[in-house]
Symmetry: C2
Subunit: 131 residues, 2 copies
DNA sequence: CCGTATCCATCTCGATACTG
DNA sequence: CAGTATCGAGATGGATACGG
């Protein structure tokens, strides 16, 4: 093999970069919350609306459509009255979810360092240098 | 232990969610590109400006400051003339980079499925239903 | 119940110009 | 070389109201 799996540079630089694309998919304020909520089993629209807390109807719909389009969620309509719609993670999404866990792990392990970095940076940049 | 490491739900729902935070850090259009460019060794400002291709001076600066504040990059000024500034990944950032690789892997493995999902969704939603 | 449509405030980002 | 300052276009997201 001529290229190691760490040679990702060219992919990041070009527009089809898979990392950036996947991050753009789930980076929004709500996408992950939705994914997580749906990871445990099918959820209804109104359930999500209550669970996510703070999300507007519009944003919920937009994110659901987006995730559905990406193939991360399936949408199932039950033609009952009143209507019932369930959203469920696809296999792909559950795999992604597992991968996301390693990010959680990283973030957890380094939360201290990050907080420290913030403090250091802020004190170094916001306190006016003494005259 | 009372909670498995997969019980991330409550974290996603609350504002201090580590996943969302870490994604917000690197999800921008440029952050990953910068991180990748710096992963191979210290880089100068103008080097990044040329490498990243398409980034404006302003955005480069903003992202560099942000990443520096997060503790992902270090900034070293050499008081020469002309000035020289080098940016380098921290240990933390290199670790994050490795983690990101698993996302690349996921994206690569499923790029076909995603493209298919797009196609399916689009044909189902953009072609007007025949009357 | 499950959305879509509309309006508006806010934020983001690129272009451009100027400085130590 | 390595930034900062300012401005305006466009994207983003919340509130609200209405439709299937």
């Amino acid at each position: 093999m001529s290229r190691s799996h760490t040679d990702v540079t060219d992919q990041v630089e070009n527009p089809a970069c898979p990392v950036s694309e996947v991050l753009d998919r789930v980076a929004g304020k709500w996408a992950i919350g939705i994914l997580v909520a749906a990871a445990k089993g099918p959820v209804r629209f109104s359930e999500l609306e209550r669970t996510i807390d703070g999300i507007s109807r519009r944003m919920l719909t937009l994110n659901l459509r987006k995730l559905e389009r990406e193939g991360l969620l399936t949408r199932t309509v039950y033609p009952t009255v009143p209507p019932k719609v369930e959203y469920a993670c696809t296999e792909m999404a559950l795999e992604l979810y597992e991968t996301l866990l390693s990010l959680v792990d990283w973030a957890t392990r380094h939360s201290g360092d990050i907080a420290r970095a913030h403090a250091v940076y802020d004190t170094a940049h916001t306190v006016a240098p003494a005259p």
